[in-house]
């Protein structure tokens, strides 16, 4: 059962990473314009260099 001492923290850590990613996405307003973001990825405008 010693494996539990490793696996439980690992699973909690991975879940925490997901939660942190969710918070970050929300803080940076990535859920404000889902339609726009889905379409922006199709434009070729900033393919060569990032938007300044």
């Amino acid at each position: 059962m010693e494996i539990l001492a490793i696996l439980i923290p690992v699973s909690l850590f991975l879940g925490g990473v997901g939660l942190a990613a969710f918070f970050w996405a929300m803080k940076t307003k990535q859920f404000d314009d889902p339609d726009g973001d889905a379409n922006r990825i199709l434009t070729k405008e900033w393919d060569d260099r990032p938007k300044p």
């Binding site: 909690l12 939660l19 434009t43 405008e45």
Partner: protein, 728 residues
């Protein structure tokens, strides 16, 4: 449930129609100081990736524009620009690129507060989801037979995850439960909070005593499902509110004021009595006033319902909200803002709203039955087991916590929001905007439909009715004259006539008509008196040609789908009534065309309110459909109300549902969908009740394990959501 909140929300939407007519103080400040221009434009046609780059590219190239960002979800673009950049200039730029754009009043689009609330709920939902998944993993191990020290360790880890989650994610429930307790009511949130607290604390105690059952998973799952219901509820209302705000923000209230002989653009709120205001043809009167210069015709349909334009010359009194048709008018302002007739009419709405009995929603009624029952069950279980076990407090509290968890209205909290979200999404795609949470339920109960005429059943745009009965050369001459005018009757005439005669020296006489020379004789098209004719009872324009006068009669064009909607509602067994402020002839003709038997003409705004109130007093559930200021009181007094997007701001604010497109046919669909939605809600209550009927006796007997609680909760929540999605 967010019922208390949603009622408040609804009040805020409709209780202050005056706020929509007269800009608020913040808006004044925002409009008075255009130092840093932040321009919002609505882009109704934007739909693709190319549109984004076109719009952003074109706007970015305009000198003075610092940044432009398109939001495709909301179909808007917000521009940060130097103060000299104007919305009109940007609209012209976009038009050249083939993009339709309209100016929005940024002061009205205060969505930040709503956004913040939504983000807050979403964050709590995310935390609850994370903990639910982790605690569930640990619980599966316990359910499948973890023993002794392992079980205790798993319980401790669960507690470490679940307790902070319950404290953080449960805050919306605790706050609203506390608020309702202080008001002396037992809302749905009281048993929810009690279950959350009791389940967590009894589980901590059991864990310390290394007991078998801990309800951490149930507590976290409860928080997750209930937050989900609340988030759905919030999102539905946020979408409706942002669309309603956008409609209001489309009308930027400005007036052209003469200052030292120069026209200056000003916010309406800055106009005072005594100022001189210029109204161009096609513009809406911003204030009440007396004409001091110019002659024209005004369209009063939004205020009185009459479809016939009225002559306006020097000395004519005009009211805010009327539309100037042919010539420029200069007004001396007699009343602006709060004193204008537009505002006084809005007071009528306030009176009607006060008289309106507050509707208790289905969920509220369910909660009123449900929460006392839950508490009684839980406490009697506690009392019985205290007695049966001879004072074993731990066992009795365990049982009563289990009863609270199982009866907790997880499915109830999800039952209504899920159905409302699914139904309003469906109606939104059909072009109907549900502004009020309970509007669907009220719409389902409707048995009488009252229609307004001008602008609602008709488009407010005329059609020639006797073209076939007139000689071809007469029509050709009339069309030749009409081609030079922007008057709605002239435009309708020029639009339908095939051949246009060559008329020379065409001259528009504002307020009277058009005259010109045709084959050496003077020809006139316009008002009856001016052409030397007897006016007819219906809307008409007259052509004087070589000593004889020909009349062109007009009828208002029907709104597309009006016939379908009326027929469908009648086939459904609804009583249909037409109340119009227009003349008898025009109303009778329309009623006959649509087959409406009950109709009244020349109805004043107060009479409309009285008629609707009388119908309600008879026990009828009235759906009012109207667009004008004269309908506003009736819209507020009716059980439920619908107005088209072309309606006056005050009318839209007073109504529960806004029809976004031109077509009227969706109204019949809306009634059908709303009844289906209410049936789904009732079914959902029965489903979640059914789970309780099975699970509660088990819990009362002390046979409910945490596994049974988790199963009952998730199964009932899932079946309720699936049932909501069956809506067609």
């Amino acid at each position: 449930m967010a019922l208390a909140e949603s009622l408040d929300e609804a009040n805020r939407l409709s209780a202050c129609p005056a706020c929509a007519v007269v800009p608020s103080a913040e808006r004044l400040a925002a409009m008075a100081a255009p130092a840093e221009a932040r321009i919002m434009l609505s882009l109704p046609m934007a739909h693709c990736a190319t549109c984004i780059s076109t719009v952003e590219g074109a706007l970015g190239a305009v000198p003075g524009v610092r940044s432009a960002r398109v939001n495709l979800t909301r179909k808007r673009v917000s521009v940060d620009a130097a103060p000299e950049v104007t919305a009109a200039g940007l609209i012209a730029v976009l038009k050249a690129e083939g993009q339709e754009a309209h100016e929005l009043d940024p002061g009205l689009l205060s969505t930040t507060e709503t956004d913040r609330q939504g983000r807050d709920l979403l964050m709590r939902l995310g935390v609850a989801f994370f903990s639910m998944m982790n605690v569930m993993l640990l619980s599966v191990a316990v359910w499948s037979g973890a023993e002794a020290a392992t079980r205790d360790m798993f319980h401790w880890i669960s507690a470490a995850i679940a307790l902070p989650t319950v404290i953080f994610a449960g805050q919306p429930f605790f706050k609203s439960a506390w608020a309702s307790l202080r008001a002396g009511r037992l809302g749905m949130d009281v048993p929810i909070s009690l279950a959350l607290i009791l389940a967590s604390s009894i589980s901590v105690y059991e864990t310390m005593m290394s007991g078998h059952h801990a309800y951490f998973d149930a507590a976290v799952m409860l928080a997750f499902f209930l937050l989900l219901g609340r988030y759905l509820d919030h999102r539905t209302r946020a979408v409706a509110r942002s669309a309603a705000e956008e409609l209001a923000a489309l009308e930027v209230p400005r007036a052209w004021v003469m200052v030292d002989g120069v026209e200056v653009e000003r916010a309406i709120s800055a106009v005072v009595a005594g100022d001189t205001v210029v109204v161009r043809p096609g513009g809406r009167m911003p204030v009440d006033g007396v004409v001091t210069l110019g002659a024209s015709e005004v369209d009063r349909s939004l205020l009185t319902g009459e479809s016939l334009p009225v002559f306006a010359g020097v000395g004519t009194v005009v009211s805010a909200g009327e539309v100037n048709l042919t010539g420029p008018l200069t007004l001396r302002v007699t009343a602006a803002g709060k004193d204008s007739s537009l505002h006084r009419m809005a007071d009528l709405v306030a009176v009607a709203e006060g008289a309106k009995t507050r509707y208790t929603s289905l969920a509220d009624r369910a909660a009123k039955l449900y929460s006392p029952l839950v508490h009684i069950l839980s406490f009697s279980a506690f009392g019985y087991w205290m007695w049966a076990t001879g004072g074993d407090v731990r066992y009795a509290i365990n049982i009563s916590a289990a009863v609270l968890i199982i009866t907790c209205p997880c499915a109830l909290g999800l039952a209504v929001p899920a159905v409302v979200t699914s139904a309003s999404g469906r109606l939104f795609r059909k072009g109907l905007l549900i502004k009020n949470g309970t509007a669907l339920e009220r719409l389902a109960a409707v048995d009488t439909v009252v229609f307004d005429k001008t602008g609602t059943l008709t488009m407010g745009a005329p059609e020639v009715t006797n073209l076939g009965a007139l000689p071809a050369d007469v029509v050709a001459v009339a069309a030749g004259l009409a081609a030079g005018s922007s008057h709605p009757l002239a435009r309708a005439l020029a639009g339908v006539a095939g051949v246009r005669a060559a008329v020379s020296d065409v001259r528009e006489v504002p307020g009277y008509g058009i005259e010109g020379m045709w084959q050496g004789q003077r020809v006139r098209l316009g008002r009856a008196e001016w052409c030397g004719a007897e006016p007819l009872a219906v809307t008409a324009t007259y052509l004087s040609l070589g000593g004889t006068v020909h009349a062109f009669t007009f009828a208002d064009a029907l709104r597309p789908g009006a016939e379908v909607a009326v027929a469908a509602l009648r086939a459904d067994g609804r009583r249909i009534i037409l109340l119009s402020g227009d003349a008898v002839g025009a109303v009778a003709e329309l009623a006959a065309r649509l087959g409406i038997e009950e109709w009244s003409a020349g109805v004043l705004p107060a009479d409309k309110v009285a008629r609707v109130a009388a119908l309600s007093a008879e026990g009828r559930r009235v759906l009012m459909v109207g667009d004008g200021l004269n309908d506003t009181g009736a819209l507020a007094a009716a059980h439920v109300s619908i107005s088209p997007a072309s309606a006056l701001d005050a009318a839209r604010v007073a109504s529960d549902i806004v029809l976004l497109g031109q077509d009227m046919a969706p109204i019949a669909d809306a009634v059908r969908i709303s009844r289906q939605a209410v049936r789904r809600m009732v079914e959902n209550f029965i489903i979640s009740g059914g789970y309780n009927v099975i699970a509660v006796p088990l819990a009362l007997m002390g046979a409910a394990t945490p596994l049974a609680a988790a199963l009952a909760m998730s199964l009932s929540s899932i079946s309720v959501s699936l049932n909501a999605m069956r809506l067609k």
